[in-house]
């Protein structure tokens, strides 16, 4: 393969590099906007941003196909966006409007989208892992060659569900790609204060799952690692496990005074901002001009600005509909099919 060295020394294909840069920029700008909208009280509840960790979702999701499934956590705006849920549907969800991807019932922590096989948005730490195992079990039993990518933080590693899920996936050789987003903290608890063995890939290896660590700030390394793992999973190699070493630049949530880590630690990690790393690599390889960089930023900005307009124009769901979707709406015999609960609202309304 021709190309120039990426941030981690890997080769960069110019078009692919610019594509990944744009993906990370889209997530960054969406979330910078979320923070702003939270401060303006447009968004409420808990808000957990992914700023600093974008390379992980960008690299892994670039390695999946449309039939694959994705399971994520409450820090999932970026995963949803890069999976193909529109920024408008995501923001409208956070505004609590019916145009949101979950009609405003889920909010920031519970983004779901059937059309893109995006299975949430789970606010119970480690709650998504067994679900991913089940999705993969269904694929395997039905003879489909899909992969289920499951994202979770390193905090989840301490939960029983993590261990039960890894064992099941390995025992039954299920097509799951476990993606551990190791940002070194679970709220205020540093990895070394919560795990006797801090080498997370070793834990997966104990379940006979091929596992390795990847520089989660280097999107090209993430993409390369994910592609290798996805190929192996898809071709019947059983579950694989990536430990993606990353860092969150912001507080855990909007309520976190960050008493547990030093400012200079954050500053040191910010020197490895995944967007800057890739941008610099592309620039020094002569693959990104100043004008192209401006254009990428402008494209992302325009998308997010349109999404804000879409969300601002949203409407609250009528209160009379409060108790809908507790049970499935049955076919009334008029040929209308199952209830709208399985249809992605955002798609139908043409959200930007």
């Amino acid at each position: 393969m021709t190309g120039t060295p990426g941030p981690g020394g890997g080769a960069v294909d110019a078009a692919q590099g610019r594509h990944l840069l744009l993906q990370m920029l889209r997530v960054r700008q969406l979330e910078e906007k979320c923070v702003e909208l939270y401060s303006a009280a447009k968004i409420r509840g808990f808000l957990h941003v992914y700023i600093g960790e974008e390379a992980v979702a960008a690299g892994v999701l670039a390695s999946l196909g449309p039939e694959d499934a994705v399971v994520a956590t409450y820090r999932e705006h970026g995963h949803a966006l890069l999976r193909g849920v529109s920024a408008g549907a995501i923001l409208a969800e956070m505004y609590g409007y019916v145009e949101g991807c979950c009609r405003g019932r889920g909010g920031s922590m519970h983004l779901f989208d059937a059309a893109t096989r995006f299975f949430g948005g789970n606010a119970i730490v480690a709650g998504g892992l067994p679900l991913a195992v089940g999705l993969a079990l269904a694929d395997k039993m039905a003879g489909r060659s899909n992969v289920t990518a499951c994202f979770f933080g390193e905090g989840a590693v301490a939960e029983g569900e993590f261990h039960e899920s890894l064992n099941l996936a390995a025992l039954w050789q299920l097509p799951v790609l476990f993606c551990c987003e190791n940002n070194l903290y679970a709220m205020g608890t540093a990895l070394a204060r919560s795990e006797s063995q801090t080498d997370i890939a070793l834990k997966a290896a104990a379940y006979e799952i091929p596992a390795w660590a990847v520089d989660g700030m280097d999107v090209l390394a993430v993409q390369e690692g994910a592609r290798r793992a996805v190929d192996a999973v898809r071709s019947g190699g059983g579950p694989h496990f990536l430990e993606l070493r990353t860092y969150r630049f912001r507080a855990h949530s909007m309520f976190d005074p960050e008493r547990y880590r030093a400012k200079d630690e954050v500053a040191r990690w910010m020197e490895r901002d995944p967007i800057t790393l890739l941008r610099t690599a592309l620039e020094s390889a002569g693959q990104l001009s100043a004008a192209e960089w401006e254009q990428l930023q402008a494209d992302a900005q325009a998308e997010i600005a349109a999404a804000v307009d879409f969300a601002e124009a949203g409407t609250p769901e009528p209160v009379e509909e409060l108790t809908r979707f507790v049970y499935s709406e049955r076919d009334t015999g008029d040929g209308a099919g199952p209830g709208t609960g399985t249809q992605p609202a955002g798609k139908e309304t043409g959200a930007p």
Partner: protein, 326 residues
């Protein structure tokens, strides 16, 4: 002394830590983070990491360890961030903490206190907003407390720690910031009885925990309309203070139970059933109930508000009950 519900809880924990060396606090982010709801803020500095013990994300593990430590002679206070996450520890709470005394023929006591946040109202969505204390009140072997006032937030913990059996304390998330006065000598309170928070003669409004403020508000609105409501705070959800409930209802002849839990199979159902079992012939009207709509709590503010008990809904239910009585 000016205080708040959160500070009152903290004062209760401090007091217990000072009084009894066997007491320690354990849970996720109780130490370095300062407590997920800042209840334990500053305690790590005062008591050190052995007694203000941060745990990994392992609810089943550290609740079970709390049970074991209690068996081993300690007096643990285990904090679970919210009742929603306590479901990961349900096995330990229901199959171990609640049963060991009985299964061992009275040999092994579990003097454990588990504190957790409960309730909705902050747009946190379904997985962070549920009120499941009524479920726990179903379990023999557990004592269930729901402090609604600063005095109870301050004083229930010490009494709970004296209990030889497991006690669960539910702190409604909307109460933490409630300000108030707390007597300098505020200390332990009983954990057996319900309390009349507002005396009245026309109807008994029976509630607990996070809905107490809305019910007191409703009582004031009813007073303006000439209905003199009594507000009874259950305080302890298991065992229920039947005597206090029946004394109030036999006086007012009407009752509305207000519970943020869902109606079906709920604590409000239990209270209502006991009233009809014990003082049916004193009633002038069927027992009313105001509960949460039977839906996982939605994120959108207007839907969440519509799902929850409110002063307006309590007023309406109370008027209906009074009118039904003729």
């Amino acid at each position: 002394m000016k205080s708040s519900y959160r500070e009152a809880l903290r004062a209760g924990i401090r007091d217990a830590m000072i009084r009894d060396e066997r007491v320690f606090l354990m849970g996720e982010d109780v130490g370095a983070y300062g407590g997920s709801f800042a209840v334990s803020l500053g305690l790590l500095e005062e008591f050190g990491p052995d007694r203000i013990r941060d745990t990994p994300l392992s609810e089943s593990g550290f609740v079970g360890a709390g049970i074991g430590a209690a068996l081993g002679g300690m007096r643990p206070i285990v904090e679970i961030m919210t009742v929603n996450f306590s479901l990961l520890a349900l096995d330990q709470i229901v199959n171990n903490a609640a049963t060991l005394l009985h299964m061992s023929g009275g040999q092994f006591h579990v003097p454990l206190v588990i504190r957790m946040t409960t309730g909705a109202g902050r747009q946190l969505g379904a997985q962070h907003s549920h009120s499941l204390e009524g479920w726990y009140a179903h379990i023999p072997g557990l004592r269930i407390l729901a402090p609604a006032t600063l005095e109870d937030a301050r004083g229930m913990l010490w009494t709970a720690l004296q209990d030889p059996d497991p006690v669960l304390i539910f702190e409604h998330g909307s109460l933490y910031n409630v300000p108030g006065e707390l007597a300098d000598d505020a200390g332990p309170v009983d954990i057996d009885t319900a309390a009349i928070r507002r005396p009245g003669n026309d109807i008994s409004l029976i509630t607990y925990g996070g809905t107490l403020p809305a019910v007191l508000d409703a009582a004031e609105q009813l007073a303006a309309d000439g209905i003199d409501a009594e507000v009874l705070d259950l305080r302890t959800l298991r065992p229920l203070d039947d005597a206090a409930i029946m004394a109030s209802v036999t006086r007012t002849h009407r009752a509305v139970v207000v519970d943020e839990g869902w109606r079906s199979g709920s604590l409000s159902a239990e209270v209502s059933a006991r009233i009809t079992e014990q003082v049916f012939f004193d009633l002038d009207a069927p027992v009313g109930r105001v509960c949460s709509a039977e839906v996982p709590i939605p994120y959108a503010k207007h839907l969440e508000l519509a799902a929850l008990p409110s002063a307006a809904r309590v007023v309406a239910a109370a008027k209906e009950t009074v009118d039904a009585g003729g």
